[in-house]
Every structure is written in C-alpha cells, then in structure tokens.
C-alpha cells in the first residue's frame, strides 16, 4: 500500500511536469493556432540559464527568477521574429518551423554546454515526509505544489485581469480585438512569453531528477502531446487532468505490469490514447471541431 501511494505521488509530480508543458502547448495553440514542438526545448534552455548562473555562484532562487524572466523574453521574441509569419497559415508548416526551432535550440545547447548529463541543483530536499502514514518524496510533493500554484496563477491572470481578458479576446478573434484597440502582435508575444515561463518552471523542477542535457524534455514532450490529444486542444483543465492520469498510470504500470517495466513506461500514454480514442475521437474533454470549407 505504501508503495502504491508513493507511486501515485511521484506520478502526480511527473504528471504535473507533463501537464505544465501540455498547458503551455495549449496556450500557444489557442493564441496562435499552431502546435509548438519546441515547447520542451525552450524550457530546457531556461534550465540551462539557471545552471550557468548557479555555476557562477548565484543562489538557486535568484537564478530561477532570472531564468523565468529570460523565458518570457525569449518566448516573446520567438513569436515575433520566428513564428509570426507562419501563424494563421498552414499548421503543418508551422509545426515544421517549431521542429526547426527545437533542432536549433538543441544544437546551440549541445554546442555551448555539450550533450553530457549535468547535475542540476534541486529546489527541494531529497528527504521523504510522512503522508497518510506513508513516506513520500518531498520533491514530488513540492514539484506538484509549485506547478499547481503556477497554473492557478495563470488561470487567475486569464480570468481576473484586464490583460487576461485581452489575451482571451485575441485568441478568439484577433481582428475584433484589434477593432477594440488591442495591439494583437504585442499580446501574442505576451501569450508566448507566459507559455514559455510555465515551461521553464517545469524544466527547473524536473531537471535535478532527469539531469540536465539538451534532450532532457524530449520524452516529456511526447507525454505532453499525449496529454493534449487526450485532453483536447480546447480544454486546459482536460490536458492537465490527462497529464496527471498519464503520470500516475505510467508509474503504476512500470511496477505492476512486468512487461512494461521502467524502460517501456513511455508506451503507456499511447496505449491509453489508443483505448480512449477508439471511443471518443475528440479526446476526453475536448469539443469536436467543425472546420468550414
């Protein structure tokens, strides 16, 4: 029983990381209509910023804050200078551009900092704490908590602030938004910046466990995309819940289903997708999209 709870808590933690990435992908898609395959890569870049700064002696928290600012700026610039041309156009082309971006980021990181796995400082201690009579990892609890808080903050921004209203308006109908005086371009940059920040938070939290390397979030991207497929591109809550389910299930499968084991955990989300989509092609929470000819 204890093992089970541990696996669930750990699964919640990794699921939160996938969920953050998935949420970032959904955010970007709602704003600019494309799937950003480089979302994980951008997040890893922010983690490298933290790593470089802490190596210079900066305290971890400070480095993380700087990296978050960096990610916002970086995300905004990517939208403005790279993706702007390809938004609202053929989504497949846009995806290939993001794949190019991913390659570039991986290449830059690999060239600057090698492809070796680097140690990354952990925000949380590696102790365990007693929870419901079971010892669970502080890091897992902490990671889940931080990401949930980040998501709630984001949600609060979207629902409760004028900026959030503007971001939503731009995502729904940029032309109408412009007619009401909204600077669509600038708001898209903000949207990308926020998505990048969310990814950065996730990367920084999971890097100690995965060790830092340019391809660190390649696997996580796959999980995040699976969560997006399951949860539906139109449902932020759906993808987060899907991500948690994936995280928990893969952990349980790794231990309780011998054939899968730890190395084939990554197949779990896709088995899940297979099963769910046989029944509900639009995902668990999404709406069916009707595309007019």
């Amino acid at each position: 029983m204890g093992k089970f709870v541990q696996l669930v808590v750990d699964g919640l933690s990794t699921g939160s990381v996938y969920g953050a990435l998935a949420l970032a992908i959904v955010l970007v898609h709602q704003a600019t209509g494309l799937i950003n395959f480089a979302q994980g890569g951008m997040a890893v870049l922010s983690a490298y910023v933290v790593w470089v700064l802490t190596n210079q002696g900066l305290p971890l928290i400070v480095a993380i804050l700087i990296a978050i600012v960096f990610s916002v700026v970086f995300g905004a610039l990517v939208e403005r200078w790279l993706m702007r041309r390809f938004e609202r156009g053929d989504p497949d082309t846009a995806v290939v551009v993001t794949i190019g971006l991913l390659t570039l980021i991986t290449g830059v990181a690999g060239w600057l900092w090698t492809y070796n796995n680097q140690q990354f400082p952990s925000l949380f201690s590696l102790d365990t704490v007693s929870f419901l009579g079971v010892s669970v990892s502080v890091r897992s609890l902490g990671t889940t908590a931080v990401i949930v808080v980040a998501m709630l903050l984001l949600q609060g921004l979207f629902v409760g602030t004028k900026l959030g209203l503007a971001l939503r308006a731009v995502a729904i109908n940029p032309q109408s938004a412009a007619f009401s005086g909204l600077n669509v371009g600038r708001l898209l940059m903000v949207g990308w910046g926020l998505a990048a920040a969310l990814g950065a938070v996730a990367a920084v939290l999971v890097a100690p466990q995965l060790t830092l390397t340019p391809g660190m979030l390649d696997n996580a991207l796959v999980y995040a995309l699976a969560a997006v497929i399951l949860g539906g591109l139109t449902s932020p809550i759906g993808v987060v819940v899907a991500a948690w389910i994936i995280g928990i299930l893969e952990n349980l499968a790794a231990v309780y289903v011998p054939f899968i084991g730890f190395d084939l955990k990554v197949a779990v989300p896709f088995i899940l997708i297979f099963v769910v989509l046989l029944v509900r092609p639009q995902g668990l929470f999404g709406r069916k999209n009707v595309v007019r000819v």
Partner: protein, 236 residues
C-alpha cells in the same frame, strides 16, 4: 467640420482591384451611407478606413492622415469598426465582450456607466448579460457588436451591413437603437447597407458605389427621389 475624408481611395486584394477611386466626406456628428450591389466595394471601403486593408489615395480623420495605421491604432484614434458578421467574441460573456470594447479606457466608473447605457439601449442584452456571446441570436449578437463599439467612446462608428441575416423587425429594432444612440451621443457614422430603406432612416447622405467607384452621391432626400435609386434599391 469634416471629421472623415476619403479622396480617390484605391485598394486591391492581390491582383484584384476592388476600390478604384472612392471619395467620401463625413461631417462631425454626421452619418453617411454607402450603398451598392454586392462586390461594389462597400465593405472594402470600411476596411480601408480602419486599416484592415492597405489602401492608396487619401484618408484623413480629423485632419490627420490615417493611411498605413494598424487597425488597433485607428481604433485608438476614436474610430470603431463594427465588422460584417459582427465579430463578437463567442467564448466570452456579454459583459466581457463589452469590457473588451472598453479596453483602451482607464476610467472605471465611466466604463460601468457605459455598460449600463448599452444595456439600456439594448434591453435584450441585459437579460443575457452572463451568457456566452456564441449563445446569442443573430440580432442580439449585432446589438452586442454595436455595444462593444460604443464602449470605446468613439467619435466615428463604421457599421458594416448591420441588418445582414436579421429578420426585418429585428433589423428595425437595431436601427432604432442606433438612431437613438446617434441622437444621444453625437457619434458620427459611416453605414454600409444593402437595405437602402433602412439606411435612409439613419443617414443624412449617401454615396452609391459601383465597381469600386462612386456612381451617385447626394443627401438622403435627393437620392430617395431619384428613379434609379428607387428602382434599384428601394423596390420601385
């Protein structure tokens, strides 16, 4: 005092020339109609004004050349474009749609007062204030679109086919409200309409476009009296 002036305005979509020298004058607090058949360039004229489409020629607002400005910059100057198809923000509530309209304003109390004004102008919206805009009927969405434009406290409103797809009684209600708005607020208007009868209840003068050029221009009274107009647009 001329508020808006168009002179020899041209515009094209790719290789297709849609506007071939359109001229228009809108006085302060005045209302001018743009009539004509489909494809004559009416909507494109409004788009040229609001900066949605790149245009040649001269477009001045309050004496300033506004050609080349982005749509949000044109909106900031006080021109509110109510587009064809309304452009309501479907996933947002009625109230949020109106709040978006007031985005550029900083006076919170004024915004609340204007929301109340809109709801008074369009009572249907008052009942649906918390509904998502996509759940509204066509007429209600049109009202909401006009309301969103009002919220920005514009000096000039561009109305594109406000009666499109509406039942005649609904369209009349919308135009009654807009007339009341005009009287109470003094907002100038450029009104694109296929339903000339309806347009003439609102505008002081109008121009008729044909293949991107002005074919006829005059006051409402003059135009209503012309045989061609009566036959082509007013049902004989």
């Amino acid at each position: 005092m001329t508020l808006l002036e168009l002179e020899g305005v041209t515009a094209s979509y790719g290789p297709v020339q849609v506007l071939d020298g359109v001229s228009l004058t809108v006085p302060e607090q005045g209302a001018v109609g743009i009539l004509g058949a489909n494809g004559a360039g009416k909507t494109t004229t409004l788009r040229a004004i609001s900066g949605t489409v790149r245009a040649g020629g001269r477009i001045t607002f309050d004496g300033k050349d506004i050609r080349g400005l982005r749509p949000d910059q044109v909106a900031a100057l006080g021109i509110a474009h109510v587009p064809e198809g309304r452009g309501t923000l479907g996933d947002l509530t009625v109230r949020d749609n109106l709040r978006v309209g007031a985005y550029l304003r900083k006076d919170r109390k004024g915004v609340e007062e204007d929301i109340d004004y809109c709801l008074d102008l369009f009572p249907n919206l008052k009942e649906r204030i918390t509904s998502n805009a996509s759940a509204l009927s066509g007429g209600e969405q049109q009202m909401l679109a006009v309301g969103r434009a009002i919220m920005s406290k514009p000096r000039l409103m561009l109305l594109d086919e406000a009666s499109l797809g509406l039942a005649p009684s609904t369209a009349k209600n919308v135009y009654d409200a807009i007339r009341r708005l005009r009287v109470e607020s003094g907002i100038a208007m450029v009104v694109v309409e296929q339903n000339a009868n309806l347009a003439f209840t609102l505008v002081d003068s109008a121009t008729v476009l044909e293949t991107g050029r002005n074919a006829l221009t005059g006051t409402s009274a003059e135009l209503k009296g012309m045989d061609e107009i009566r036959r082509a647009y007013l049902g004989g």
